[in-house]
C-alpha cells in the first residue's frame, strides 16, 4: 500500500477522474447502450443513461438486501442494493480484492454506499441485457446518508430531465436515438416517488 504511492499520485493527476453519476435504479435498469470514448485500449467505457448522460462510474446508497459468494477458483461476490425505485446489481471479484473483502464483511440487510463502474452485459439466457455495477468500494452507512443520496439522485435526475426538455446535448441526441421508446420525463415522476418515500 505504500511503496509506489508517489507514482500512483502522479498517474492519477494526469487524467481527469471520471465523476460518479447519481442515478436511480429505475433509470439505470433501462440502459442498453455502452460505448468507448476513444480507440485507446485504456479509453474509458461509458454506459449511456436514457436521460442522456454518459456514466463510467456511479455512486449509490441503498439497502444491501442480499449477497452471494460464487465461483470456485475465481471467487466473486454478487449483491443486490435497493433504492426507492428498484434494484442495483453489484459485483466484486478478485480484481477488486479490497471491495470484495469489504462486501464479504457486511451483514445483510444494511444501508451501504457503493462506488463502482457501470457496464451492460447480455443475460446468460439470451433474454436481453443486465446492467451491473462492478464495486470499487462499499461501506456501511447510516439512514441519513441514504436520505441525502435520495435528494442528490433526485436533483441530478431533475437536472438531466430539465436540460433534455430545453436543449439536447450531443449525448442526449445519442440517447434519443438509442432509446426511442423512453421518454425521460418519466424519470421526473420516478424522482418524485422516491422523494415522497422519505419519512421525516
Amino acid at each position: 500500500m505504500s511503496a509506489n504511492q508517489k507514482d500512483m499520485g502522479r498517474r492519477e493527476g494526469q487524467f481527469e477522474r471520471e465523476p460518479a453519476r447519481r442515478v436511480f435504479a429505475a433509470e439505470l435498469r433501462e440502459c442498453r447502450y455502452q460505448f468507448k470514448d476513444g480507440e485507446d485500449e485504456k479509453s474509458p467505457t461509458f454506459v449511456l443513461l436514457p436521460s442522456g448522460e454518459r456514466s463510467n462510474r456511479i455512486f449509490i446508497v441503498g439497502t444491501l438486501t442480499e449477497k452471494t459468494r460464487q465461483g470456485e477458483q475465481n471467487i466473486f461476490y454478487r449483491g443486490r442494493v435497493v433504492d426507492p425505485t428498484g434494484t442495483f446489481f453489484i459485483m466484486a471479484g478478485s480484481y477488486q480484492p479490497e471491495a470484495m473483502q469489504q462486501l464479504a464483511k457486511i451483514e445483510t440487510p444494511a444501508f451501504v454506499a457503493v462506488i463502482g463502474k457501470t457496464s451492460v452485459y447480455p443475460k446468460p439466457d439470451g433474454s436481453g441485457v443486465l446492467v451491473s455495477v462492478r464495486v470499487e468500494s462499499i461501506t456501511v452507512v447510516d439512514k441519513e446518508t441514504r436520505d441525502l443520496w435520495v435528494l442528490d439522485a433526485a436533483k441530478h435526475t431533475l437536472d438531466r430531465v430539465d436540460t433534455y426538455a430545453k436543449e439536447l446535448t450531443p449525448d442526449m441526441l445519442k440517447a434519443k436515438e438509442q432509446y426511442p421508446t423512453i421518454d425521460p420525463s418519466l424519470f421526473r415522476k420516478i424522482a418524485y416517488d422516491a422523494l415522497a418515500q422519505i419519512k421525516i
Binding site: 493527476g13 455512486f59 440487510p109 454506499a113 462506488i115 461501506t139 441519513e144
Partner: protein, 418 residues
C-alpha cells in the same frame, strides 16, 4: 401497505412442495424489518426473503456474461479552430497572430493562427511548397490535418493543403478563457500577477502565479531579446500564450504571447473554494503517516522510515492526513485533508491513531481502515485553497439532511415540466 402475513404465507407455500416448512413468524419479522426499517419495496423484500430461504435449503441461483463497444470516423470539414480534434482533416479561416522561428529545416514556417473560437499552433512543411504567410493577415486553409504533439493540438500544412489569403477586412477580438477552463494548446487569460517566484533556471526571466476568479496557474517567461518582466500585483490581458501540460498540471509559457497591461482589479480565487459532495475514494498514504523530523523537511517517510532526502529517520514524527476524491456528480475534486480536520471529521485524534497503530497487528493499516469506514461514501463539505488541481482542505463538515431541500425538490419534481 404490505400484508406481511399474507406474503409470508405465499413464501412458505413455495417451499411446501419441496417438503420444507419455514417458520411463518420468522418470515414475517424479516419482511417487516426490510420494509419498515430499511425502506425496501415490498416486492423486493419478498424476493429477498425467498432467496435467503432458498439458499438455506440449498436451491439454485442465477449468473451473467460480458460485452463490447464501437468506434467513429471523419472527413475534411469546415470548422472553427477550437473544434479541431487530433486526427481530423479540417478547413479553417483564421488570422496569423504570431510567427516563430522554425525548429527544423524541414519546416518552412511555424506560428499561431486564430479565429474568434480560439487559436492553434501551426506548422508548414517545407515540402508542401505553400506560400509564406504574413503575421496579421487572414487565410483560408483547406484540407490541413490536426495533429497532436506532446498532448497539444497542432495544425499541419502539407502538400495537399490549399492556402488562400483573405483580403476582406476582418477584425478579431480574442476572448480570454477562465483559468479553470484552460486546456493544453494556445490560450488567453485576463489575470492578475499574484505571486512572483524565484527563477529556477538561468535561462528563465521570470516565473510565478497568475490568478483570476476561477483559479490560479503557473507562468514562465524565458530570456529572449525584447521580453520584459511582468509587474507583481498588476492586471494583464494575455493572448496566444502556450498552455503546457506536465504531470497533469498546466502552466503558461508567455514567450510567444501578446501581453497587455490593464488598469483595474479583479477578484482572485487564491482565496477559498468550497465543494460539497461524496467521498468516493481514499488513496493509499492516508491515515496515520510518519514525517521526516529534519528541520524544514517534513516529507512523508516510507514504512521503513526512509526520507527521499535525509535517508533513514528512526526519530520520525507522526501526522494524520487524508488524500482522496470528493465527487459532486459532475466533477471529482482531488482533496488533501490536514491533521486537525481529519481529527474532527473522523473522531480519531493523532494520539488515538498512534495508539491504534502501535497496538494493532495491522499497524498503520488499521488506522486507514477505521478512517475509511467512517468517511468513505459520506457527504461532506470541504473548504480550502485550490493549488495546482488539488484542494488543500482546512475546514470541513458533514452534510446534514435538510427538510427545506427535501421540500424544494418535491416541489420541483411535482411541478409541471418546464
Amino acid at each position: 401497505m404490505m400484508d406481511y402475513s399474507e406474503a409470508a404465507e405465499r413464501i412458505s407455500r413455495k417451499f411446501a412442495k419441496s417438503g420444507q416448512t419455514p417458520d411463518l413468524k420468522k418470515i414475517e419479522g424479516k419482511l417487516r424489518r426490510l420494509v419498515d426499517e430499511f425502506g425496501v419495496q415490498p416486492l423486493e423484500a419478498e424476493r429477498s426473503v425467498t432467496n435467503e430461504l432458498a439458499k438455506e435449503y440449498n436451491l439454485p441461483v442465477p449468473g451473467a456474461g460480458s460485452s463490447a463497444g464501437s468506434g467513429k470516423g471523419g472527413g475534411t470539414e469546415e470548422k472553427r479552430i477550437a473544434e479541431g480534434v487530433p486526427g481530423e482533416w479540417v478547413t479553417i479561416e483564421g488570422k496569423v497572430v504570431g510567427l516563430s522561428a522554425p525548429a527544423s529545416p524541414s519546416i518552412a514556417q511555424s506560428g499561431i493562427i486564430a479565429d474568434e473560437s480560439g487559436a492553434i499552433r501551426f506548422v508548414v512543411w517545407a515540402k508542401s511548397n505553400a506560400p509564406a504567410m504574413t503575421e496579421g493577415s487572414w487565410y483560408r486553409i483547406e484540407s490541413a490535418v490536426v495533429d497532436e504533439y506532446k498532448g497539444v493540438p497542432n495544425l499541419k500544412i502539407h502538400s495537399g493543403t490549399t492556402i488562400k489569403e483573405i483580403t476582406e477586412d476582418r477584425s478579431l477580438i480574442p476572448t480570454p478563457v477562465p483559468i479553470h477552463d484552460l486546456r493544453p494548446g494556445i490560450g488567453g487569460v485576463r489575470a492578475k500577477f499574484v505571486q512572483e517566484w524565484d527563477a529556477s533556471h538561468e535561462r528563465m526571466l521570470q516565473s510565478g502565479l497568475l490568478g483570476d476568479e476561477t483559479g490560479t496557474i503557473k507562468f514562465v517567461i524565458w530570456r529572449e531579446p525584447g521580453r520584459e518582466k511582468l509587474v507583481p500585483g498588476a492586471l494583464y490581458n494575455i493572448f496566444y500564450a502556450q498552455v503546457d501540460e506536465f504531470n497533469g498540471r498546466l502552466s503558461l509559457n508567455l514567450n510567444g504571447a501578446t501581453i497587455l497591461q490593464e488598469e483595474g482589479e479583479i477578484a482572485v480565487s487564491g482565496g477559498e473554494v468550497t465543494v460539497t459532495g461524496a467521498i468516493v475514494h481514499i488513496a493509499p498514504g492516508s491515515g496515520i503517516i510518519k514525517r521526516c523530523p529534519v528541520e524544514g523537511c517534513n516529507r512523508a517517510l516510507s514504512r521503513q522510515n526512509y526520507c527521499p532526502v535525509h535517508e533513514i529517520q528512526p526519530k520520525f514524527v507522526y501526522d494524520l492526513r487524508i488524500k482522496g476524491w470528493l465527487d459532486d456528480g459532475e466533477k471529482t475534486h482531488n482533496v488533501l485533508i490536514q491533521r486537525d480536520v481529519v481529527e474532527s471529521l473522523t473522531g480519531i485524534s493523532l494520539e488515538k491513531a498512534q495508539e491504534i497503530a502501535e497496538n494493532n497487528p495491522l499497524g498503520m493499516d488499521e488506522v486507514f481502515i477505521q478512517m475509511r469506514d467512517k468517511i468513505l461514501g459520506r457527504y461532506i463539505t470541504c473548504t480550502g485553497r485550490e493549488i495546482e488541481g488539488r484542494l488543500l482542505v482546512n475546514a470541513c463538515g458533514k452534510v446534514a439532511f435538510g427538510t427545506q431541500d427535501h421540500t424544494a425538490l418535491l416541489n420541483r419534481a411535482g411541478g409541471a415540466p418546464s
